[in-house]
Amino acid sequence: MTPAVQSPTVLRGVGVGRRGVVGPVAQVRPAPHVAADAPLLVDGVPADAATAHTRVEQAFTDVAVGLRDQAGRASGTVADVLAATAQMADDRALRAQVLAKVDAGEPVVSAVDGVVTMFATMFERAGGYLAERVTDLRSVRDRVVARVLDLPAPGVPELTEPSVVVARDLAPADTAALDLRHVLAIVTELGGPTGHTAIIAGQLGLPCVVRVSGVTDLADGTVVAVDAADGTVTTDPDDEQRAALVARAEVERTLAADTAPGGTSDGHLVALLANIGTAEDAERVGPTAVEGVGLFRTEVLFLERTTAPTVEEQTEVYERTLRALGDRKVVVRTLDAGADKPLAFATQPDEENPALGVRGFRLVRTNPDLIDTQLAALAAAQQATGARPWVMAPMIATPAEARDFAARARAQGLAQVGVMVEVPAAALRAREILAEVDFVSLGTNDLAQYAMATDRLRGELADLLDPWQPAVLDLVAATARAGLELGKPVGVCGESASDPVLALVLVGLGVTSLSMSAGAVPAVRYALRHHTAEQCRAMADAALVAGAAPEARAAVVALLHSSVRSTLGL
């Protein structure tokens, strides 16, 4: 091997997850590039229409059978998608229309292209779910054309060593054909962080970077470092970078190996939950070792729309979410629009201080239908699935508001009703608020913003927004104390729950569940597992007596088990 003389090239994309690996590139073969009028040769001579008919019909059958076989070997979502793709290859209208063109003397490639394009256009025009199926339709086209012309099947190469699979875009059928024992990572030139490839990579626990421009130009065998945390693909990585990724992978493996319920070393249980924003997120975290969803932000359903989504539209999304989590806990937060998340149909014009204006539950004053529709949809999803979703309202400031929300939710038949504590007034009156509801959840980002009178969007004031600020911790402590006194759950669903050190303090203060991005769960689980409940309480005390945020954190880090400090690199 010649020494790498050129400096490493760094290609950038959007990372999914936080893992990193080093390995050789294996390019997925693109669709066959054949002219639309390429002749179909049989024994070196152009085939007549009757022979072409037989060959095309056989190709459709072979492709459908192949896909169905793959579906049989796959499982879960992958199997479902493959079965659906097989059914497309089997579709009698697709086949009949292609064969009619072939019978009329049209070249086979042009015939297949024409009919597939007609369906693809129809699907794209319909948008949504159907538009996403166009990739599957094109993969049927590529497979059939290759089969008829006796070209190598497009798609995934046979992997002989652990490799970084690179593709322009991966159809689900391609992903399913991967020999997973040899897949280190998936990198695509197209696609998005919420697309098929990313979802499937997430389910498989593979590092994935999408939208990496130029990556399909890399030669097979080029060694690359794929870092999903950074969203980078680096060619010929140096020793330092390799070592860093190897060390990170080692730590991640250790942490991820523990999938038992979250809790302290002496058995005090603390539910570790995921924050999600869409039904797709729910389907992605479903197979992971999270104990449920502690915050389902429902804003995505409402953003970039001119009218509110209907009960039916919302019910479908809530149903998918509940089904993805089975009998695990799901906490749905009602619409938190306003401030930095304006809505065309609800935002008040000319608010001078939108963060202090009509946002969150306060929309009930101007648009009561919004919240009632949302609660009705969630109740319908509860009915349809038999799941027992929890529901909570954001931006509650008074016990009266909590009572109003609880009455609306219970009237719809929702049993577990709570509110967010993110306004300091609610934290100071947590006991009275908790008397009205079944649980509360602390949103530490907004709680810090309002307690410290600091705009979350002002980067130069970030030190004031630090969740380690003793004043913010005081408000968390007051809320947790009220929960302990009344015997009601107090969760945290802000960013602070994903910091393994701060998570220990929160548990020491009496917080009963922690909700965070799913990728942060293993490190938090690990930190908790290595300390007793008593140690967590001592850390909470140390944080509360500190004079400032950096001192509070330093005091707690000093109390950490030494192995936890070294594993987490603190």
Binding site: A83, A84, Q87, D91, R92, L94
Partner: protein, 100 residues
């Protein structure tokens, strides 16, 4: 020519799993059946691509049509199918087409 008009009961509309169950039933009947949205062109009801491509939402009516001695019986069966919520977990064939 026998015809039936029926409202699609599946909550997701005639997509994914409901479309798969419906087109399989049409194919198994052995009778050529067409399906059309109100005011739209009839298409082959045995084609998953055409049926999904119609994009029929929940609660919208579709018209089925067929010819021949078995037409009435087959259409009645298909109407019953469409009037059922095929997206309910217990409905129809194995869950090969669950929304991915």
């Amino acid at each position: 020519m026998a015809q039936r008009t029926v409202t699609v009961a599946s909550r997701v509309g005639l997509h994914a799993r409901p479309a798969m169950i419906f087109t399989q039933a049409v194919a198994e009947s052995g009778v050529p059946v067409t399906i059309a949205r109100e005011g739209g062109e009839p298409v082959d009801a045995g084609s998953i691509l055409f049926v999904m491509g119609l994009g029929v939402p929940h609660g919208e009516a579709v018209t089925l049509a067929a010819d021949g001695p078995d037409a009435d019986r087959v259409l009645d069966e298909l109407v019953t199918l469409l009037a059922t919520d095929l997206d309910a977990p217990e409905a129809g064939a194995p869950a090969a087409g669950a929304t991915p």
